[in-house]
């Protein structure tokens, strides 16, 4: 197939969606920034952080967010609520809306004002006022007719001696401004004049004007309303003195916030420049199609490239002239996938997702979850369309021109890097720390992105080759549904759960899974971590469907007969070709992969049997609950079952040449189903299997109803979700290794192993087979959706008992800050009440020579006061320092007792009791004394 010139509009380039993503990002970042500004207006001294510190949270272990978790699960202590309500009132609900309104008003003013300013009198002159010879206006009319547009406003900037032109305006009122130099040169260089004006008209035709100036306007509004105030506030927070209580733990957060704003600025500029460069090339091509002179695009001077030239070009809104000239004749540039926009899309998406979530006001847990998911669905749209469109365009071009289609690996790596780095900047897991505890978890972004992009790329080729429609657009939309679901799942899961794994989950998985069983090996401890991931993934309703769709949907392509005539979309995409190519090619046969799948399933069944035999050796006797066994049984069986898809995927990736990920994944799915069927049979008949019996000794019988819920609901979902994802990773890894090996040792260039031309009966058999696999997979997925009957309560993350205490690694600085906060937000008042009022009053009321001389009524009123103080102290936070808390709680509980003893001694005239009370009182006073002595160094007062 000779290299063909492919119509650049065979599929949209996705630049409009990229603009929309940029606008959405700016609005979301504004909302998030504005909520921070609002918090500052109501709580300028960050008392909220102070309350949290006083409550004993340890920001150093990344657990300041523990407060959020606690409040999300309704576990906030009343003391914290009271402290927050008193010291850090929240801004009224409408203030955020008002802030967004202000942003939009300012943006609107810019959007309206920029064209007015550019087109003001004194700057430009209407063309008709200068057309002394009367030939300019008709020339413009002719060009407008060529472009089939409504006539825009033409003006001249007479002071500009350059030969440029520019277009600005707002919808329905576009202005093309011609440089004086261009107008003056019209006679000398009519084709040049025509080219420049047609290029500008193409900008109008392509809708570039509105969206470009909308971005400019929103960016400037963001700069004025959010960015500058935020930077000033953060800078002030960084240097101000009064903030010192939490300064050491607050500083990383402030610096990361500043970094994020800087990154956002860079992101906006780079993205906008990149989109504009792409739009320039489209405008060039349209101008060319309308009859512009290709000779007018200047030849670049061959000067030595300046240092950092390519870096500078990233910020320019126009591509280099050599690129523009080249793309006039060769459209390859337009169909390639560029790393920079891919990276930027990833970063923008993850920042957008986080900003949307963080700008939402606190709501009830259910509503919040729903909104989070809605946000994930929406944020997944731009990333899917942008990356999907880039891949689809590249692959359509490769298919039409006979080039090698991109694998999607590189795109995935760039996208994943964008997601990971954007995520890092967000700092939602490094709160109060310079680096997250487990940064390696961020690599999962790369893995997920690579799986999704490779899937998208291979599915795109599969669909493009078998598509018969008039245009490719519906095919692309169809092919992007599954990636969209995948991104929705990923963004939603990551926002709600995944991010926690980076900071270290504040949840005691070992206790959750193992309960009372404490003595176990480190392998079991590691297994709890694995089970934690599986549990949180399964808690997400999307997970099963997304993975099942990813391995099942591509199989449909094997059930469709390939087109035998050149489809209409190919003719439209290759307008100049006399003999357009037939993109269809026979698909690789599914028989070998299915055989591998059966083998993999068998391997999985053997692994299951081995695990059962192992478990048989230490099964607990009947009526004995062994938490360790109850955990080990399902988790080891899950690992054994996962052997099937992983082995099948690896082996299939080795034997297939085309659509490796799709075929390997389908084989993995089938293998999982086979292994599961075998395991279910083993489980339902295990009482008859002797050494494989994992239950308490019982008689041999067939018990499917007992085995089913365990296998279908506890074991199958993790295998179908995370297990199959892992299988995909393994398949991609094997494929990459093969490619590397081929680089050194050129492969035998045997063509694909095509399935023979199938007769009608074969097609029917094929379709029945694929339908059977589909029904089985969907059936198992449905069965797995049902909630787990057992053990859910224990691994329920809303159970605050299982939150790991943060007292493990409290540094002296944090302890100091905690104690200081404890004092500031109420502790000092309580201690003062005891030292200055309650204790002196009690002493005064109880001082006497003997018990009978004490006035019981006086002591009684003091006791009432002391009890009142006790209630206040109990409703306040305990002292953050555990050692001091012991003394403190002694004072709180003993003083009322002492007072009661004095009162009783006075009433009864009991001198012995009076003596005891005096001694007890001395103990309490001594306790208080030592407490204050220790508190002073502890709090640095």
């Amino acid at each position: 197939m000779a290299a063909q010139r492919v119509n650049q509009r065979v599929l949209g380039a996705g630049t409009t969606v990229r603009f929309v993503l940029l606008l959405a990002l700016l609005v979301a970042a504004s909302a998030a920034g504005m909520s921070d500004i609002l918090v500052w207006t109501t709580d300028p001294n960050s008392n909220a952080n102070g309350c949290e510190l006083a409550a004993g949270f340890n920001p150093n272990s990344g657990y300041l967010s523990e407060v959020e978790l606690l409040s999300a699960t309704g576990g906030t202590t009343p003391a914290l609520q009271a402290c927050l309500a008193h010291y850090s009132p929240s801004a009224p609900w409408w203030s955020l809306l008002a802030g967004i309104g202000l942003l939009l008003v300012v943006a609107g003013a810019f959007f309206w004002g920029i064209p007015v300013w550019k087109g003001r009198r004194g700057q430009v002159v209407p063309l008709r006022d200068t057309d002394e010879r009367g030939d300019l206006e008709p020339a413009m009319d002719e060009l407008v007719r060529t472009a089939r547009l409504d006539r825009p406003n033409f003006v001249i900037n007479p002071g500009r001696v350059t030969t440029n032109a520019v277009v600005f305006g707002r919808p329905g009122r576009h202005t093309v401004c011609l440089d004086g130099g261009l107008v003056a040169r019209r006679r000398a260089d009519p084709t040049g004049f025509r080219t420049v004006v047609l290029h500008e008209l193409a900008h109008i035709r392509n809708g570039d004007v509105t969206i470009t100036y909308a971005t400019v306007a929103l960016w400037r509004a963001f700069l004025i309303v959010v960015l500058v105030p935020r930077v000033v506030l953060l800078g002030w927070e960084l240097i101000q003195e009064t903030h010192s209580v939490i300064a050491p733990v607050d500083r990383p957060m402030i610096v990361y916030s500043l970094l994020l704003l800087a990154a956002l600025t860079v992101l906006v500029y780079l993205t906008r420049a990149d989109i504009l460069r792409s739009r320039e090339i489209y405008a060039d091509l349209d101008a060319l199609a309308w009859g512009a002179d290709p000779g007018h695009w200047p030849h670049p001077r061959t000067t030595a490239r300046r240092r950092f030239a390519s870096f500078r070009e990233l910020w320019r809104s126009h591509p280099r002239w050599d690129q523009r000239r080249q793309s006039l004749t060769d459209h390859v540039v337009l169909f390639g996938i560029q790393p920079l926009p891919t990276f930027l899309t990833g970063a923008a998406t993850i920042i957008l997702a986080a900003q949307v979530t963080s700008s939402l006001p606190p709501l009830s847990t259910g509503t919040e979850q729903l909104l989070d998911w809605l946000a994930a669905c929406l944020t997944a749209v731009p990333i899917t369309v942008i990356i999907g469109a880039a891949l689809w365009r590249a692959i359509a071009h490769a298919v039409l021109t006979g080039r090698r289609p991109p694998s999607g690996v590189r795109t995935g790596l760039w996208l994943g890097a964008g997601l990971a780095i954007g995520d890092w900047l967000l700092d939602s897991f490094t709160e109060a720390q310079w680096f997250p505890n487990h940064p390696a978890v961020l690599v999962v972004h790369l893995l997920v992105a690579v799986v999704i992009t490779c899937w998208t790329a291979q599915a795109a080729e599969l669909i493009i080759r078998s598509w018969r429609g008039r245009t490719l657009r519906p095919a692309m939309l169809l092919g992007l549904v599954v990636p969209w679901l995948a991104f929705t799942f990923w963004l939603g899961w990551w926002q709600s759960v995944g991010r926690w794994f980076v900071s270290g989950f504040p949840f005691d998985w070992e206790r959750a899974f193992l309960g009372s069983a404490t003595s176990h090996s480190s392998a079991i401890a590691a297994l709890t971590e694995v089970m934690a991931v599986l549990t949180t993934v399964h808690a997400n309703p999307f997970s099963t469907w997304v993975v099942t769709a990813m391995w099942l949907v591509p199989l449909l392509a094997w059930a469709v007969r390939p087109p035998t005539h050149v489809p209409h979309w190919v003719r439209a995409a290759l307008p100049g070709a006399d003999d357009p190519p037939l993109p269809a090619e026979p698909l690789p046969s599914l028989r070998p992969p299915l055989r591998v799948a059966l083998l993999g399933g068998t391997l999985g069944a053997i692994a299951v049997a081995a695990v059962m035999a192992y478990l048989h050796t230490w099964r607990p006797p009947a009526n004995v609950v062994d938490d360790l066994y109850n955990f080990s049984e399902p988790s080891l069986l899950i690992v054994a079952l996962a052997v099937a898809p992983v082995a099948a995927a690896a082996a299939t990736a080795l034997i297939t040449r085309r659509y490796r990920l799709l075929v390997a994944w389908a084989a993995a799915g089938v293998a999982a189903l086979v292994a599961f069927a075998a395991a279910f049979l083993l489980g339902a008949t295990q009482e008859c299997l002797g050494p494989l019996n994992t239950t308490a000794p019982s008689f041999c019988h067939w018990r499917p109803l007992v085995a089913w819920p365990f296998y279908a609901q506890a074991l199958m979902p993790p295998v179908l979700e995370t297990g199959l994802f892992f299988a995909a990773i393994v398949a991609l890894f094997v494929a990459a290794m093969r490619r590397l090996a081929q680089r050194w040792r050129p492969a035998v260039t045997a063509g694909p192993s095509p399935s023979p031309r199938s007769p009608r009966a074969r097609w029917a058999a094929k379709r029945v087979g694929i339908a059977t696999i589909g029904v089985a997979a969907v059936g198992f997925s449905l069965a797995g959706i049902a909630p787990l009957s057992q053990d859910t309560a224990r691994t329920d993350m809303s159970n605050p008992d299982l939150l790991t205490p943060a007292t493990t690694s409290v540094t002296p600085e944090v302890r100091h800050a905690q104690m200081l906060a404890w004092f500031k937000f109420g502790g000092a008042d309580l201690i003062g009440q005891y030292l200055e009022t309650d204790m002196p009053n009690l002493e005064a009321a109880a001082r006497a020579a003997r018990a009978a001389d004490v006035d019981p009524a006086k002591v009684g009123s003091v006791c009432t006061e002391i009890n009142q103080t006790k209630r206040s102290a109990n409703s306040y936070f305990p002292m953050p320092d555990p050692a001091l808390q012991q003394d403190w709680s002694m004072v709180i509980t003993h003083l009322p007792q002492v007072c009661a003893d004095f009162q009783r001694a006075a009433v009864q005239g009991d001198d012995n009791l009076y003596e005891t009370a005096i001694n007890e009182f001395l103990t309490v006073v001594n306790g208080m004394d030592s407490l204050t002595k220790e508190i002073v160094p502890a709090s640095g007062l």
Binding site: T163, N164, R279
Partner: protein
């Protein structure tokens, strides 16, 4: 040249001189001149000599400077006239005045071309050639342009003054 009769014995402005020269040597530049005529002299000169050229979003991207007879003539004549009329006012006070006028949007009155001596005319000629050279006009055409400018200025002088005085 044809319109010369209209000016008759009245004194003539810089822009009129430029208009006549451009209409003669580069009539295709007349729309530009018409645009410039709507600005005051200082503003026009400022625009024509502006170094910084912003890169416009959605422009074609060409920043090639066109060699315009209009620009060359305007810059050379106006600068020469300024220097001849008020040689001292080239410094700070003039610049401040220009700034203030721009701030308050007060157009300055169009500069009047005085009657020039032979030396002054030679100086204008030299200046036109110099500016033309800076703008990349070839030497022959630069000389033609300078000749035209001087011719137009001489015509003004002839019209303004009584014959026989010189």
């Amino acid at each position: 040249v044809i319109e010369m009769a209209e000016y008759g014995a009245t004194r003539c402005t810089v822009r009129e001189v430029v208009h006549d020269v451009v209409a003669d040597v580069a009539p295709e530049e007349l729309p530009v001149l018409a645009g410039l005529s709507q600005l005051d002299d200082d503003e026009a000169l400022r625009r024509l000599t502006r170094r910084r050229r912003p890169r416009e979003r959605l422009g074609f991207g060409l920043d090639t400077v066109a060699t315009l007879a209009t620009a060359i003539t305007w810059v050379a004549v106006q600068e020469s006239v300024k220097r001849i009329v008020d040689p001292a006012a080239d410094g700070l006070s003039r610049r401040v005045g220009t700034r203030l006028r721009r701030l308050f949007r007060r157009p300055s009155a169009p500069a009047i071309v005085p009657v020039l001596t032979r030396e002054q005319l030679t100086e204008v000629h030299r200046r036109v050639v110099e500016v033309a050279d800076q703008n990349g006009l070839d030497a022959d055409r630069a000389t033609v342009l300078a000749d035209r400018v001087v011719a137009r200025l001489v015509l003004t002088a002839l019209d303004t003054e009584r014959p026989g005085e010189r």
